[in-house]
Amino acid sequence: MKKLPVNCPSCESALVASQLSCSECETVISGSYSLPVLLQLSKEDQDFIFEFILTSGSLKKMAAKMEKSYPTVRNKLDDILEKINQLKTN
């Protein structure tokens, strides 16, 4: 799966979606759409959130699944929350 670029490789500003297209009828929509906050996170952070939802939000289950200790998983979640808050304020 291709990695979605979220920052400009030239100036590192946040990228926006300027074109969307239908793969069936080839309709193209142009505009300027900001990427959702979750999509602006790294692939690793997105995977973590995905796993978090799959385990019904249980950090203990996640820790067992990831073979990490509970505080390590909790710290990771807190770091992601901090990133999300930063992205929301930007």
Partner: protein, 192 residues
């Protein structure tokens, strides 16, 4: 292997670490008693004939002091810090220190130490037995390595428990372990 030796707190559950820490503390107290050593502060070991109960009490005082001071500063840094994570940090981080009494098999260190003290006057310095000097130098260097290992373990456990980052956390951690050392020496000295 690196994780097991330096960052076990990132990988292993608190139950596993607690069991390992409690067993190691009991064995450590027993080994120190059998080999005539005592831990009389977080960072101090002396040669002394003592009862097994006293050896165990010494270790419990050290663990309590470390846990209390680290928990207070951890809560200050990060409100979600759990007591159990700090308890396992102190129990597990102290394990390398239990290797040190092994150097005193047959009172080797005590004899070397006494030999040097006996020749401590300026006119007797030349008569210090070379073997005693070598034993104490090797032990001193090994102790420094163990000390670095213990501090690395303590800091890694603290960092994981308190989600600590940056220079401020390192300074607060250093103050906490120094205070724990002072408090444990005071308590062990005054409770005997």
């Amino acid at each position: 292997m690196k994780t097991l030796l330096f960052k076990p707190f990132e990988k292993y559950s608190e139950q596993k670490l607690l069991i390992a820490g409690v067993i190691a503390t009991l064995i450590g107290a027993l080994v120190a008693y059998v080999l005539n050593c005592r831990f009389v502060g977080v960072f101090q070991m002396i040669f002394d004939d003592t009862a097994i109960v006293q050896s165990l009490i010494d270790n419990i005082i050290i663990m309590c002091c470390l846990t209390i001071f680290l928990f207070i500063v951890a809560k200050f840094i990060y409100k979600k810090t759990r007591l159990i994570d700090i308890v396992v940090t102190t129990l597990v981080a102290y394990i390398p220190f239990y290797i040190l009494p092994i150097f005193n098999i047959n009172n080797t260190l005590k004899i070397a130490h006494d030999n040097i003290l006996m020749h401590s006057q300026p006119e007797l310095v030349n008569q210090i037995p070379m073997i005693s000097l070598i034993i104490l130098i090797v032990f001193g260097l090994f102790t420094l390595l163990i000390l670095a290992w213990v501090i690395a373990l303590l800091y890694n456990g603290f960092k994981t428990a308190a989600n600590a980052k940056g220079v401020k956390a390192i300074i607060i951690f250093a103050i906490a372990i120094i205070l724990a050392d002072v408090a444990s020496r005071y308590l062990i000295f005054h409770l005997n």
